[in-house]
Symmetry: C2
Subunit: 192 residues, 2 copies
């Protein structure tokens, strides 16, 4: 049954291609299919055998990013312990996907009109629920809506990934910078 072998081998290679493409497009969002193929060490023809076209590739990257974000969300256990600590865990877990997130974040406006992957709605809902939980247990302020906090988190992740890739801030500071700004803000606390 060559079908089974075919499927298996393709899946492995497909994943490798996908991750190469993610790494490249994170740095250069306008990279050509040819450049993507070269970056993955395959020919353009083979790239097309894996992904019908650029659109399909971006969609696959979107699915990958969604899967990684949901996995990060799972690992972060957003329903356990303090909401602030959960946010810290989440940012730490999602850091590796931030570059891809930033790429898709700007690519999304290209999908206007077309339907969005419903995975984003799931993630948005889980993030908003985390912020809402923090509000309800008194940890977070209530004048900033969960929806806005969710959008702001995306924006800070994208900014952080961009600033790191540009060398303007150190990669090791990524989590700290984002978490501290998102949770504590720039104002110095009297207590600490």
């Amino acid at each position: 049954m060559s079908h089974l072998r075919y499927g298996c081998l393709m899946a492995v290679d497909r994943d490798h291609v996908l991750r190469s493409a993610a790494a490249l497009l994170t740095r250069k969002s306008t990279a050509t299919m040819d450049e993507v193929a070269k970056a993955a060490g395959i020919s353009r023809a083979t790239l097309h055998r894996h992904f019908a076209g650029r659109d399909a590739l971006v969609r696959a990257l979107e699915a990958l990013c969604i899967a990684e974000c949901e996995a990060a969300l799972d690992r972060a256990r957003p329903d356990e312990g303090g909401a602030g600590d959960a946010v810290r865990r989440l940012v730490r877990e999602i850091e590796s996907a931030a570059g891809l997130l930033a790429f898709l974040y700007s690519e999304n406006q290209l999908f206007e009109g077309e339907q969005q992957n419903e995975g984003w709605a799931r993630i948005d809902a889980r993030l908003a629920a985390l912020f809402r939980r923090g509000q309800e247990n008194g940890e977070f302020r209530i004048d900033l809506s969960p929806v806005w906090l969710t959008e702001a988190l995306y924006g800070l992740l994208a900014s952080g990934a961009w600033a790191v890739s540009e060398g303007r801030v150190a990669r090791n500071d990524f989590t700290h910078m984002i978490v501290e700004l998102l949770l504590g803000g720039a104002t110095r606390r009297e207590g600490s």
Copy 2:
């Protein structure tokens, strides 16, 4: 001297075209030169008479955005009073340019390799100086670098403009959302 009249009239029309293009590209960053021309109520030929090409148009929008940001920075008087209050004034003044800023923010990665407009360096420096002033007078925490706070401000402005244009948050909340998150963070203060 038709040259004088010519220069004057072109300047007026050019500004109108520029603002139409900004309004359109803010909503649809991939708009065609044809769409930009239609949005400005002129023909594609006339658009090309004003701006040599798409690149020149984006550069002109960049210059416009820089001018508006610097004007906002001037009006906000970042060197007067508390740094926190100065940031509030700044965000309020820069709000109208946030959409254009978001467009150029994602367009910038297209300019990789090519030299950046030095205006951004001026603005970056003024913003970083404001945050540094806040750190030095004890208002702001010192573990978040002025460079990161500057990047984060850009990111929040872009996220805010995007969220507003998508209808996910109310336009009237724009300034409050960004300022409060940037300065105070999501955590509820004991004092208030």
